[in-house]
């Protein structure tokens, strides 16, 4: 052990801490030491478990209906989040750490590595410590902050139509978009996601990968004039402007845009 001894002094009376532990009332340093003690103390484990009945009752006594908008937001977000597999943390991301520069972000940035980045985002967002290189962590944290920024906004709202789902916040000018359930494009063609803003030219948010489903996009810097999202089929690699009618279109009015 190279740690300073002061961090490891034994708890003076660990057996008296079962109740504060069950109530989540231990300060962080005592919590860590008590949990080490708990791992070897059957009596403490039994006592903590017995109090789980009491805290469950206290918890349930506080039940109130959840706010109505939360359901759609959570269910939409769940479609963009990968799960951990049992017994181990999420697989390490294949995402390369994107170069970080001092320049402004482009208006809309598709998540380059899709689901893998989102797994990392979720992990970081939810405070799970995973071992990663610093570069991956920094890139993941930056994205986590942006996604959380949108998801956590008081005015964040969700909308869904066909295969297009969006969670957007007008106050934070951001949106998280997923595209699912689209038939694959014919050979030599790609699906492309667009942002429509009133009379302004449609802006490409990116080309969907051929592998298709659950491709999440993070859009930042949205202004009030953003009116809808649309997916079209375009020649391989995408177009400057949409050249076909939308396969699916989603108005942004219900999520606070399109003034």
């Amino acid at each position: 052990m190279t740690r300073p001894r002061t961090l490891w002094w034994p708890l003076r009376d660990p057996h008296s801490l079962a109740v504060p532990y069950a109530l989540d009332a231990l300060p962080p340093r005592e919590l860590a030491r008590y949990e080490r003690h708990l791992a070897h103390c059957e009596r403490c484990t039994a006592e903590v478990r017995a109090h789980a009945v009491d805290t469950l009752r206290l918890a349930r006594a506080a039940e109130v209906p959840a706010p109505p908008g939360l359901r759609e937001r959570v269910l939409t977000a769940v479609r963009t989040l990968e799960q951990e597999s049992a017994g181990r943390p999420a697989a390490p991301p294949a995402a390369p750490a994107r170069a970080r520069t001092g320049t402004r972000r482009p208006l809309l940035v598709p998540l380059a590595a899709g689901a893998a980045v989102l797994a990392l985002v979720a992990a970081v967002l939810l405070g799970v410590e995973l071992s990663r290189t610093q570069g991956q962590l920094d890139a993941g944290r930056a994205r986590a902050r942006e996604i959380n920024h949108v998801l956590a906004a008081p005015d964040a709202a969700a909308a869904r139509d066909g295969g297009l789902s969006v969670i957007a916040s007008a106050s934070r000018g951001g949106a998280v978009i997923t595209v699912t359930d689209l038939a694959p494009p014919p050979p030599g063609r790609d699906h492309q996601l667009w942002l429509m803003s009133g009379a302004a030219a449609p802006r490409s948010l990116g080309v969907l990968p051929d592998s298709g489903s659950d491709t999440p996009f993070l859009a930042s810097g949205l202004t009030a004039s953003a009116s809808s999202l649309a997916v079209t089929t375009e020649p391989d690699g995408g177009s400057q402007r949409p050249t076909t009618a939308p396969l699916v279109q989603l108005a942004l009015k219900s999520v606070g845009f399109g003034e």
Binding site: D24, A59, R60, A62, E63, A66, E82, A152
Partner: protein, 185 residues
């Protein structure tokens, strides 16, 4: 007979990636989670944010759930309580001003909500049984569990020694349990 899947069954299915099971589970746990988080945090906007984090974490980590080690609701509410307590402590650490604002904004709405839950029989009994504890027992339990103070902070707020606070917490929980077991018998 019972067509509604239990939370335990649903969470097990969620652990295998079942989104429909998650939708159903949402219906069963969102109220308890939101209510508990809000009881600790009071501020509705922050409570909604923490509730959302908890529910997404529930989705993401559901595969860790082991039915043999306890009920799904207990698992979820333990997670929710820890997140709420973490948040309320960091809000307090960030400054008393923010907390006062949150409390001022949250208190009237909370009282209103408190009326709504009167109808729940078990909830009613919890409240009644809390009323049968001594003042010190009740304050020790509720300052810790519902307000997110550490036992050391509770001792300071109540001006009693640490050992006393730990004992009162324990006595309070045991008395609550025997009162509620008597009530449901």
């Amino acid at each position: 007979m019972d067509v509604t899947a239990t939370a335990d069954e649903l969470l097990t299915r969620v652990g295998r990636g079942d989104q429909r099971a998650f939708e159903e589970l949402y219906g069963q746990v969102s109220g308890p989670v939101y209510g508990l988080v809000r009881r600790v945090l009071r501020d509705p906007a922050q409570s909604e944010e923490v509730t959302q984090e908890v529910l997404l974490e529930l989705w993401r980590t559901a595969a860790r759930y082991d039915r043999d080690r306890g009920g799904a609701l207990s698992w979820v509410l333990t997670l929710a309580h820890r997140r709420a307590v973490d948040r309320v402590r960091s809000v307090r650490a960030a400054g008393e001003r923010e907390e006062r604002v949150a409390r001022r904004a949250g208190t009237p709405a909370f009282d209103q909500v408190a009326e709504e839950v009167e109808s729940g029989l078990e909830r009613d009994w919890v409240r009644r049984c809390l009323g049968r504890l001594t003042d010190l027992q009740r304050q020790a339990v509720t300052l810790a569990y519902y307000d997110g103070y550490t036992y050391r902070e509770v001792a300071r707020r109540l001006s009693v020694p640490l050992g006393t606070v730990k004992t009162r917490m324990r006595d309070g929980l045991l008395r609550l349990r025997s009162c509620l077991d008597g009530a449901s018998a």
